[in-house]
Symmetry: C2
Subunit: 160 residues, 2 copies
Protein backbone atom coordinates (compact mmCIF):
# COMPACT_ATOMS: atom_id res chain seq x y z
CA UNK A 1 0.00 0.00 0.00
CA UNK A 2 2.98 2.29 0.63
CA UNK A 3 3.47 2.82 -3.10
CA UNK A 4 -0.14 3.75 -3.68
CA UNK A 5 0.07 6.45 -1.03
CA UNK A 6 3.42 8.01 -1.91
CA UNK A 7 3.14 7.82 -5.70
CA UNK A 8 1.00 10.75 -6.78
CA UNK A 9 0.93 12.96 -9.83
CA UNK A 10 1.56 15.98 -7.60
CA UNK A 11 1.06 16.63 -3.90
CA UNK A 12 -0.49 19.79 -2.38
CA UNK A 13 2.84 21.28 -1.28
CA UNK A 14 4.30 20.79 -4.77
CA UNK A 15 1.27 22.44 -6.37
CA UNK A 16 1.59 25.40 -3.99
CA UNK A 17 5.30 25.77 -4.81
CA UNK A 18 4.40 25.57 -8.53
CA UNK A 19 1.79 28.31 -8.20
CA UNK A 20 3.98 30.58 -6.07
CA UNK A 21 6.79 30.10 -8.61
CA UNK A 22 4.43 31.48 -11.24
CA UNK A 23 3.34 34.30 -8.92
CA UNK A 24 6.97 35.22 -8.35
CA UNK A 25 7.49 35.49 -12.11
CA UNK A 26 4.29 37.56 -12.50
CA UNK A 27 5.62 39.92 -9.80
CA UNK A 28 8.78 40.45 -11.84
CA UNK A 29 6.69 41.15 -14.95
CA UNK A 30 4.77 43.84 -13.01
CA UNK A 31 8.11 45.31 -11.90
CA UNK A 32 9.41 45.34 -15.48
CA UNK A 33 6.67 47.78 -16.60
CA UNK A 34 7.35 51.51 -16.42
CA UNK A 35 4.90 53.13 -13.97
CA UNK A 36 2.81 54.94 -16.57
CA UNK A 37 2.64 52.08 -19.08
CA UNK A 38 1.62 49.61 -16.38
CA UNK A 39 -1.63 51.54 -15.94
CA UNK A 40 -2.14 52.91 -19.45
CA UNK A 41 -0.46 50.92 -22.24
CA UNK A 42 -2.62 48.54 -24.22
CA UNK A 43 -2.86 46.78 -27.60
CA UNK A 44 -5.96 46.07 -29.68
CA UNK A 45 -8.42 47.52 -27.16
CA UNK A 46 -7.31 45.15 -24.39
CA UNK A 47 -6.92 46.16 -20.75
CA UNK A 48 -3.68 47.69 -19.46
CA UNK A 49 -1.56 45.13 -17.56
CA UNK A 50 -2.46 46.69 -14.16
CA UNK A 51 -6.14 45.90 -14.86
CA UNK A 52 -5.30 42.28 -15.64
CA UNK A 53 -3.38 42.15 -12.35
CA UNK A 54 -6.49 43.44 -10.54
CA UNK A 55 -8.37 40.46 -11.98
CA UNK A 56 -5.67 38.04 -10.78
CA UNK A 57 -5.73 39.62 -7.31
CA UNK A 58 -9.51 39.26 -7.18
CA UNK A 59 -9.26 35.55 -8.06
CA UNK A 60 -6.22 33.92 -6.41
CA UNK A 61 -6.31 34.92 -2.74
CA UNK A 62 -10.11 35.21 -2.43
CA UNK A 63 -10.58 31.96 -4.37
CA UNK A 64 -8.27 29.86 -2.23
CA UNK A 65 -9.73 31.46 0.93
CA UNK A 66 -13.18 30.35 -0.19
CA UNK A 67 -12.00 26.80 -0.92
CA UNK A 68 -10.30 26.58 2.48
CA UNK A 69 -13.07 28.15 4.56
CA UNK A 70 -16.16 27.17 2.59
CA UNK A 71 -17.38 30.76 2.86
CA UNK A 72 -18.42 32.01 -0.58
CA UNK A 73 -18.30 35.71 -1.45
CA UNK A 74 -19.25 37.31 -4.78
CA UNK A 75 -16.44 38.06 -7.21
CA UNK A 76 -15.19 41.57 -6.50
CA UNK A 77 -12.62 42.90 -8.93
CA UNK A 78 -12.91 46.60 -8.23
CA UNK A 79 -12.81 46.38 -4.45
CA UNK A 80 -9.58 48.28 -4.07
CA UNK A 81 -7.99 50.99 -6.20
CA UNK A 82 -4.25 51.09 -6.81
CA UNK A 83 -2.61 54.13 -8.34
CA UNK A 84 1.04 53.10 -8.21
CA UNK A 85 3.19 50.08 -8.98
CA UNK A 86 4.41 50.08 -5.38
CA UNK A 87 0.86 49.76 -4.03
CA UNK A 88 0.07 47.00 -6.52
CA UNK A 89 3.20 45.04 -5.55
CA UNK A 90 2.40 45.48 -1.85
CA UNK A 91 -1.04 43.99 -2.44
CA UNK A 92 0.53 41.19 -4.51
CA UNK A 93 2.81 40.29 -1.58
CA UNK A 94 -0.07 40.42 0.88
CA UNK A 95 -1.99 37.92 -1.28
CA UNK A 96 1.10 35.68 -1.42
CA UNK A 97 0.73 35.23 2.35
CA UNK A 98 -3.04 34.70 2.13
CA UNK A 99 -2.50 31.98 -0.50
CA UNK A 100 0.26 30.27 1.50
CA UNK A 101 -1.85 30.24 4.65
CA UNK A 102 -5.09 28.93 3.15
CA UNK A 103 -3.55 26.55 0.62
CA UNK A 104 -1.47 24.92 3.38
CA UNK A 105 -4.63 24.26 5.37
CA UNK A 106 -6.25 22.21 2.55
CA UNK A 107 -6.60 18.51 3.29
CA UNK A 108 -6.23 16.07 0.39
CA UNK A 109 -9.96 15.32 0.22
CA UNK A 110 -10.72 19.02 -0.39
CA UNK A 111 -9.29 18.97 -3.92
CA UNK A 112 -12.11 16.93 -5.41
CA UNK A 113 -14.92 18.50 -3.40
CA UNK A 114 -17.27 20.66 -5.43
CA UNK A 115 -16.62 24.37 -4.91
CA UNK A 116 -19.15 26.89 -6.17
CA UNK A 117 -16.52 29.58 -6.56
CA UNK A 118 -17.79 33.12 -5.96
CA UNK A 119 -21.27 31.58 -5.98
CA UNK A 120 -20.94 31.18 -9.75
CA UNK A 121 -18.39 28.58 -10.90
CA UNK A 122 -19.32 25.16 -9.59
CA UNK A 123 -16.40 22.79 -10.21
CA UNK A 124 -14.19 20.45 -8.17
CA UNK A 125 -11.75 22.64 -6.20
CA UNK A 126 -8.75 21.33 -8.17
CA UNK A 127 -10.30 22.58 -11.42
CA UNK A 128 -10.83 26.01 -9.91
CA UNK A 129 -7.25 26.09 -8.55
CA UNK A 130 -5.84 25.09 -11.97
CA UNK A 131 -7.95 27.87 -13.47
CA UNK A 132 -6.37 30.41 -11.08
CA UNK A 133 -2.90 29.36 -12.24
CA UNK A 134 -3.72 29.02 -15.95
CA UNK A 135 -5.51 32.38 -16.05
CA UNK A 136 -2.46 34.03 -14.49
CA UNK A 137 -0.12 32.46 -17.09
CA UNK A 138 -2.53 33.52 -19.87
CA UNK A 139 -2.61 37.19 -18.85
CA UNK A 140 1.07 37.31 -17.98
CA UNK A 141 1.81 36.03 -21.51
CA UNK A 142 -0.17 39.02 -22.77
CA UNK A 143 1.95 41.27 -20.51
CA UNK A 144 5.04 39.86 -22.26
CA UNK A 145 3.74 41.15 -25.61
CA UNK A 146 3.06 44.58 -24.07
CA UNK A 147 6.65 44.69 -22.74
CA UNK A 148 8.11 43.62 -26.10
CA UNK A 149 5.99 46.24 -27.88
CA UNK A 150 7.45 48.79 -25.44
CA UNK A 151 10.97 47.61 -26.30
CA UNK A 152 11.47 46.02 -22.87
CA UNK A 153 12.96 42.53 -22.42
CA UNK A 154 10.65 40.51 -20.14
CA UNK A 155 12.02 38.14 -17.47
CA UNK A 156 12.77 34.61 -18.73
CA UNK A 157 9.60 32.47 -18.67
CA UNK A 158 11.35 29.45 -17.16
CA UNK A 159 12.83 31.33 -14.17
CA UNK A 160 10.54 31.10 -11.16
CA UNK B 1 -6.32 3.14 3.50
CA UNK B 2 -9.06 3.61 0.90
CA UNK B 3 -9.10 7.36 1.50
CA UNK B 4 -5.36 7.76 1.05
CA UNK B 5 -5.54 6.05 -2.32
CA UNK B 6 -8.58 7.78 -3.78
CA UNK B 7 -7.94 11.27 -2.40
CA UNK B 8 -5.39 12.90 -4.67
CA UNK B 9 -4.80 16.43 -5.87
CA UNK B 10 -5.27 15.23 -9.45
CA UNK B 11 -5.01 11.84 -11.14
CA UNK B 12 -3.24 11.10 -14.44
CA UNK B 13 -6.46 10.88 -16.46
CA UNK B 14 -7.66 14.24 -15.11
CA UNK B 15 -4.34 15.87 -15.94
CA UNK B 16 -4.51 14.48 -19.48
CA UNK B 17 -8.06 15.81 -19.93
CA UNK B 18 -6.89 19.18 -18.57
CA UNK B 19 -4.00 19.33 -21.04
CA UNK B 20 -6.07 18.20 -24.02
CA UNK B 21 -8.69 20.81 -23.06
CA UNK B 22 -5.97 23.43 -23.39
CA UNK B 23 -4.78 21.90 -26.66
CA UNK B 24 -8.30 22.04 -28.02
CA UNK B 25 -8.45 25.76 -27.22
CA UNK B 26 -5.03 26.34 -28.80
CA UNK B 27 -6.28 24.60 -31.93
CA UNK B 28 -9.18 27.06 -32.13
CA UNK B 29 -6.76 29.97 -31.70
CA UNK B 30 -4.70 28.67 -34.67
CA UNK B 31 -7.93 28.42 -36.66
CA UNK B 32 -8.90 31.99 -35.77
CA UNK B 33 -5.82 33.42 -37.52
CA UNK B 34 -6.07 34.39 -41.19
CA UNK B 35 -3.65 32.23 -43.25
CA UNK B 36 -1.15 34.99 -44.03
CA UNK B 37 -1.09 36.54 -40.54
CA UNK B 38 -0.61 33.15 -38.89
CA UNK B 39 2.79 32.90 -40.57
CA UNK B 40 3.76 36.57 -40.78
CA UNK B 41 2.11 38.86 -38.22
CA UNK B 42 4.14 39.81 -35.19
CA UNK B 43 4.46 42.50 -32.49
CA UNK B 44 7.63 43.91 -30.92
CA UNK B 45 10.01 41.64 -32.83
CA UNK B 46 8.38 38.46 -31.49
CA UNK B 47 7.81 35.32 -33.56
CA UNK B 48 4.67 34.91 -35.69
CA UNK B 49 2.12 32.62 -34.01
CA UNK B 50 2.90 29.73 -36.40
CA UNK B 51 6.51 29.73 -35.15
CA UNK B 52 5.29 29.55 -31.54
CA UNK B 53 3.11 26.60 -32.54
CA UNK B 54 6.17 24.87 -34.04
CA UNK B 55 7.79 25.19 -30.61
CA UNK B 56 4.74 23.67 -28.90
CA UNK B 57 4.69 20.81 -31.43
CA UNK B 58 8.38 20.14 -30.78
CA UNK B 59 7.76 19.95 -27.02
CA UNK B 60 4.43 18.28 -26.22
CA UNK B 61 4.32 15.06 -28.24
CA UNK B 62 8.09 14.40 -28.28
CA UNK B 63 8.34 15.28 -24.56
CA UNK B 64 5.62 12.90 -23.40
CA UNK B 65 6.96 10.19 -25.73
CA UNK B 66 10.35 10.53 -24.05
CA UNK B 67 8.83 10.36 -20.55
CA UNK B 68 6.83 7.26 -21.49
CA UNK B 69 9.57 5.38 -23.37
CA UNK B 70 12.69 6.63 -21.57
CA UNK B 71 14.30 7.26 -24.96
CA UNK B 72 15.77 10.76 -25.06
CA UNK B 73 16.17 12.65 -28.32
CA UNK B 74 17.58 16.16 -28.79
CA UNK B 75 15.08 19.03 -29.02
CA UNK B 76 14.20 19.49 -32.69
CA UNK B 77 12.03 22.49 -33.46
CA UNK B 78 12.69 22.85 -37.16
CA UNK B 79 12.25 19.19 -38.07
CA UNK B 80 9.23 19.75 -40.28
CA UNK B 81 8.17 22.73 -42.36
CA UNK B 82 4.53 23.79 -42.62
CA UNK B 83 3.41 26.29 -45.19
CA UNK B 84 -0.34 26.30 -44.57
CA UNK B 85 -2.76 26.42 -41.67
CA UNK B 86 -4.26 23.13 -42.84
CA UNK B 87 -0.91 21.34 -42.61
CA UNK B 88 -0.25 22.83 -39.18
CA UNK B 89 -3.65 21.72 -37.87
CA UNK B 90 -3.14 18.24 -39.31
CA UNK B 91 0.15 17.96 -37.44
CA UNK B 92 -1.56 19.32 -34.28
CA UNK B 93 -4.18 16.55 -34.49
CA UNK B 94 -1.53 13.90 -35.08
CA UNK B 95 0.27 15.01 -31.91
CA UNK B 96 -3.04 14.87 -30.01
CA UNK B 97 -3.05 11.12 -30.65
CA UNK B 98 0.64 10.74 -29.75
CA UNK B 99 0.02 12.54 -26.44
CA UNK B 100 -3.09 10.47 -25.65
CA UNK B 101 -1.28 7.22 -26.35
CA UNK B 102 1.90 7.89 -24.38
CA UNK B 103 0.31 9.81 -21.50
CA UNK B 104 -2.18 6.98 -20.96
CA UNK B 105 0.70 4.52 -20.63
CA UNK B 106 2.30 6.41 -17.70
CA UNK B 107 2.15 4.62 -14.37
CA UNK B 108 1.76 6.73 -11.22
CA UNK B 109 5.37 6.25 -10.12
CA UNK B 110 6.61 7.79 -13.40
CA UNK B 111 5.48 11.30 -12.45
CA UNK B 112 8.17 11.82 -9.82
CA UNK B 113 10.96 10.01 -11.67
CA UNK B 114 13.72 12.30 -12.93
CA UNK B 115 13.47 12.91 -16.66
CA UNK B 116 16.38 14.54 -18.46
CA UNK B 117 14.12 15.99 -21.15
CA UNK B 118 15.73 16.29 -24.59
CA UNK B 119 19.01 15.43 -22.81
CA UNK B 120 18.94 18.95 -21.33
CA UNK B 121 16.24 19.60 -18.75
CA UNK B 122 16.63 17.26 -15.80
CA UNK B 123 13.51 17.52 -13.62
CA UNK B 124 10.86 15.20 -12.19
CA UNK B 125 8.55 14.23 -15.07
CA UNK B 126 5.60 16.09 -13.50
CA UNK B 127 7.56 19.35 -13.59
CA UNK B 128 8.36 18.83 -17.25
CA UNK B 129 4.70 17.98 -18.03
CA UNK B 130 3.49 21.11 -16.21
CA UNK B 131 6.03 23.07 -18.21
CA UNK B 132 4.55 21.70 -21.47
CA UNK B 133 1.11 22.93 -20.44
CA UNK B 134 2.21 26.26 -18.95
CA UNK B 135 4.37 27.10 -21.95
CA UNK B 136 1.42 26.44 -24.25
CA UNK B 137 -0.85 28.74 -22.20
CA UNK B 138 1.90 31.40 -22.19
CA UNK B 139 2.34 31.48 -25.96
CA UNK B 140 -1.37 31.13 -26.66
CA UNK B 141 -1.95 34.20 -24.46
CA UNK B 142 0.45 36.01 -26.78
CA UNK B 143 -1.56 34.76 -29.76
CA UNK B 144 -4.64 36.37 -28.17
CA UNK B 145 -2.90 39.77 -28.29
CA UNK B 146 -1.97 39.20 -31.95
CA UNK B 147 -5.61 38.38 -32.75
CA UNK B 148 -6.89 41.46 -30.87
CA UNK B 149 -4.33 43.64 -32.65
CA UNK B 150 -5.69 42.21 -35.93
CA UNK B 151 -9.23 43.11 -34.88
CA UNK B 152 -10.22 39.46 -34.42
CA UNK B 153 -12.15 38.22 -31.37
CA UNK B 154 -10.29 35.21 -29.89
CA UNK B 155 -12.18 32.15 -28.55
CA UNK B 156 -13.21 32.42 -24.88
CA UNK B 157 -10.34 31.40 -22.59
CA UNK B 158 -12.55 29.29 -20.34
CA UNK B 159 -14.04 27.15 -23.13
CA UNK B 160 -12.06 23.95 -23.59
Amino acid sequence: METAITATVINPQELLVHWQGHRSLTRRVIEAFPEKELFEFSIGGMRPFAKMILELLAIGGPGITEIATGISKPFNEGGEAFSSKTELLKKWDKETEVINEHFSSLTLDKFHEMNNLFGEYNFPAINNILYFIDNEIHHRGQGYVYLRALGIEPPAFWER
